[in-house]
C-alpha cells in the first residue's frame, strides 16, 4: 500500500503543470456552457413563459399572475422587461396572440378573419400591434375594435377582417409593410364569470379564432 501511494503521488507531482492547465481549461469551458445554459433558460422562461406561468388556449397566451403582488419570479421579470402596467387578473385578463389558430406566425403579408363569440364582460377590446407592442400606422386610424364599436351579429358574435387592404364589416388594417410580424392583444375588463378567488374566467371556446384566409 505505501508503495502504490508514493508512486501515485510522484506521478501526480510530475504532471501537475499540464493537469492544472487542463483543469483550468475545463473549468472555463464548463463555466461558459453554464453561463449560456443559465442565461438562455432564464431568458426563455421570462420571454416565452412556461406551463407554470402561462396558459395557452389556441393561438392565445395569457400570463396567469401578471401584475399580481404574489406573482412568481418569472412573471415579475417578464413584467419588468415588458415596461407595462397590467391590471391583476381579478380586474382584467389579457390574451396575446402571435400566431393564427393553426400555429403559423401572424404576418401583415397575410389576410385573416378573427371570429369571436360573445364575451361575458363589462368591456373588451382586440388591438393590433407589431411584434414590439407598437401600434401600426394606417390612414383610417383604426387600431382596435372594442365591445362598444365592433359590428356584431344578432347572436352577439363578431368577425374582424385583419388585412392590409380595406374590407367590409370590421376592418383592422395591418399597415403597408407586408413583412411585418403582427401581434393581437385581447383585453377583457370586468369578466362576469369568476372563479372562487375572483379571477375572471373566459371559457376556452369563447376566445376568438384567428383563421388565415390567404397570403400574398
Amino acid at each position: 500500500m505505501p508503495l502504490t501511494g508514493t508512486s501515485t503521488r510522484s506521478s501526480l507531482w510530475r504532471e501537475e503543470g499540464s493537469t492544472s492547465m487542463r483543469a483550468l481549461g475545463y473549468f472555463i469551458g464548463t463555466f461558459a456552457v453554464a453561463l449560456i445554459l443559465g442565461i438562455g433558460s432564464a431568458w426563455y422562461m421570462i420571454e416565452r413563459g412556461s406551463l407554470l406561468t402561462t396558459a395557452h388556449i389556441g393561438p392565445w397566451k395569457s400570463w396567469l399572475s401578471e401584475g399580481n403582488p404574489n406573482a412568481d419570479p418569472y412573471t415579475r421579470a417578464h413584467l419588468a422587461r415588458s415596461g407595462r402596467l397590467p391590471l391583476t387578473s381579478t380586474a382584467a385578463r389579457y390574451f396575446v396572440a402571435n400566431t393564427d389558430s393553426r400555429g403559423s406566425s401572424l404576418s401583415a403579408g397575410c389576410e385573416y378573419l378573427i371570429i369571436g363569440a360573445p364575451l361575458n364582460a363589462r368591456w373588451w377590446s382586440i388591438a393590433l400591434y407589431n411584434e414590439y407592442g407598437s401600434l401600426i400606422a394606417n390612414p383610417s386610424k383604426r387600431y382596435s375594435f372594442n365591445s362598444e364599436e365592433a359590428i356584431r351579429r344578432a347572436d352577439g358574435s363578431f368577425r374582424i377582417n385583419l388585412s392590409r387592404n380595406a374590407r367590409p364589416e370590421n376592418w383592422l388594417p395591418s399597415g403597408t409593410d407586408p413583412n411585418r410580424s403582427l401581434m393581437l392583444v385581447l383585453r377583457v375588463y370586468g369578466s362576469r364569470d369568476t372563479d372562487i378567488s375572483g379571477i375572471g374566467q373566459i371559457p376556452n371556446d369563447r376566445l376568438p379564432k384567428i383563421e388565415r384566409i390567404r397570403c400574398e
Partner: protein
C-alpha cells in the same frame, strides 16, 4: 467511490447553470432600465396627475397600451406625507389601479363597484396616520378611502376605457378634472382641489 472527471465537470456545470439562472431571474426586475416606472418618471414630477397622450403609432408611453383606453397617471411619493387622489368617474368602465415601481398591481378601484361616481382616497404608507387629518370636517371624511401603500414611491393609474366610437375627447376632459397631490393636514377643507 470514485467520481469520473467528466462527470464532475457536468455536475459543476449544471449547478453553476442553475445558480446563474436563479440570479438572472431574481435580479432582472431590479435591473430592467425601461420598466413602466422609469417611463412614467420621464413624463413629469411626482404627486401630480399627468394625462398620457392617447396611444397612437410612434406615440406610446408604454408598449401594448390600449388605443381605445385613455390614461392618467399619478406617480406618488409619500416621503413627505400622504397623497390625495380624487376623480369623478365619468362612467362605470373606469378603473383606478395602484402599483409598486415593479408593476405589482396591489390595489384597484373598479368604477362599476362604486356606489357614488366619486373616487376620493388618501394614499399612505402603513406608518403614516391619516385619522387626525380630517377632524375639521369629519362628515366630509366619511367617504374617503385610505389606500395602504406597501411602498413609499408608487404609481396610481386611471384607465378610462372608451364606451364607444369618438368618445375619446369626452374621456380626456373627464380625466383632466381628476386630482392628485399632497394631502396637507393643515388644509381646512379637504374637498377643495
Amino acid at each position: 467511490m470514485r467520481v469520473s472527471l467528466p462527470g464532475l465537470y457536468i455536475a459543476l456545470g449544471v449547478v453553476l447553470a442553475g445558480l446563474i439562472h436563479v440570479v438572472a431571474v431574481l435580479t432582472l426586475p431590479m435591473l430592467a432600465p425601461r420598466d413602466a416606472h422609469a417611463r412614467l418618471a420621464a413624463l413629469g414630477p411626482a404627486n401630480t396627475m399627468i394625462q398620457l397622450p392617447a396611444a397612437a403609432p410612434g406615440q406610446q408611453v408604454m408598449p401594448m397600451m390600449a388605443p381605445d383606453v385613455r390614461y392618467a397617471v399619478c406617480r406618488y411619493d409619500l416621503s413627505n406625507g400622504p397623497v390625495r387622489l380624487r376623480a369623478e368617474i365619468a362612467d362605470e368602465l373606469w378603473l383606478v389601479a395602484f402599483y409598486t415601481p415593479l408593476g405589482e398591481n396591489y390595489y384597484a378601484v373598479i368604477g362599476a363597484d362604486m356606489k357614488q361616481p366619486v373616487i376620493d382616497l388618501i394614499i399612505a404608507t402603513k406608518d403614516q396616520t391619516v385619522a387626525e387629518v380630517g377632524v375639521d370636517a369629519p362628515e366630509a371624511f366619511d367617504n374617503v378611502v385610505v389606500v395602504s401603500s406597501p411602498v413609499v414611491e408608487g404609481i396610481a393609474l386611471i384607465r378610462a376605457p372608451l364606451a364607444g366610437p369618438s368618445r375619446g375627447a369626452e374621456a380626456e376632459r373627464a380625466l383632466k378634472a381628476t386630482y392628485c397631490g399632497p394631502h396637507k393636514s393643515s388644509s381646512p377643507d379637504p374637498s377643495g382641489p
